[in-house]
Amino acid sequence: MGKPLFETALRELEERKDDIRPSDIVLFSEPLRSALNTVIRLGRFSLTEFTETLPFSREEVKRLADLLIQRNLFELSRFATEAEPYYQARLSAMTRPLKRPPSDIWKKIDD
């Protein structure tokens, strides 16, 4: 029963080529969306805790976590050990693309 759900979650993450943004979370299917919502609120969590949020095996969840590291939603925490990885969830996104370096125009406006 968990297999098609896992494959869907895996595909959704693999299809994303850019960093995961807050707006992406809303579009993910269940149970991935709820699991990500839970760990994002936790901030720091272990692989065991992440596995508890999903109906997948620990190995499958580890595959998802590795992809989430590649998509810059998770970072491996300094508390991580080989036996028990710990992660930090960090939502990120640029509000505007930076197209050119700042000039002194802002100072001139203030003056």
Partner: protein
């Protein structure tokens, strides 16, 4: 355990900043350590309610986002600015009101991940009980981030057709982000409407809890953001509604 609370409205002019400031004051009156972050970078204004003058703003949220200060350096203790008997403490992280700095952030943008880090850091460093995020109206990446990491969301709307539609979008998104507690505040309700009817209709429409229905208030208009309403009018119906909302946030 500290709580992060986002205060949001889909449209402007709903009284979002006023409500945020009042929630902060009422929580602090009860002894809580509270920090308000003005993430309405495009149109900042909540500093006025806390009587924080531009000249007192050594640093702002903009400085933090540009790496020019730490998040706690951008936090100003405004407890003594609000009057009333505050047992706790209120901090404010204002957004810059300098035209050049607003223009710069609109033009260059910033990494909303820094907000994510800053919210968590300031909770730890200032030992906060509550972090209140005054969001920008509408939905964008910053707002979604704020909702995604919040323990509670207060959505403010007026009994107005445009607000009804916009609030439906916000409620839908908040449900998808699994906010543990969502409360709708119906603000500026005309005296011609029965508050209980409004509450029932809104709860049925959105399948979400209404925290309070506040009446339109001439006193609020007269105060004109020169102070915090619940401190100036502690026995007013608006203050009682806000107090009820705060009790639900705390529970």
């Amino acid at each position: 355990m500290s709580k992060i609370i986002s205060v949001h409205s889909f449209r402007g002019g709903t009284g979002k900043s006023n409500t945020t400031a009042n929630i902060a004051a009422l929580l602090a009156m009860d002894g809580a350590r509270v920090c308000v972050v003005d993430t309405d970078i495009n149109s900042p204004g909540i500093h006025v309610l806390f009587n924080l003058d531009e000249t007192e703003m050594a640093h702002s949220l903009n400085d933090y986002l540009w790496g020019q200060c730490s998040i706690e350096e951008a936090a100003h203790d405004v407890t003594g600015h609000v009057g009333g008997e505050i047992k706790g403490q209120i901090f404010l992280i204002p957004s810059s009101i300098k035209p050049g700095e607003i223009a710069r952030i609109l033009r260059e943008g910033y990494d909303v991940g820094l907000l994510n880090d800053g919210f968590r850091d300031v909770v730890d460093k200032l030992k906060l009980d509550y972090l209140l995020i005054d969001t920008h109206p509408g939905l964008n990446e910053e707002t979604l981030l704020s909702i995604a990491i919040s323990n509670a969301l207060v959505i403010i709307m007026r009994p107005d057709s445009q607000d009804y539609q916009g609030t439906a979008v916000t409620v839908d998104v908040a449900k998808k982000l699994d906010v543990p507690k969502m409360l709708i505040l119906v603000n500026k309700t005309p005296s011609s409407l029965d508050p209980n009817d409004v509450k029932t209709r809104v709860e049925q429409t959105y399948d979400a809890k209404v925290g309070a229905v506040l009446p339109h208030s001439d006193e609020m208009m007269s105060l004109a953001s020169s102070g915090i309403f619940s401190i100036h009018f502690p026995d007013h119906a608006v203050t009682k509604g806000l107090r009820s909302l705060v009790d639900q946030i705390k529970s």
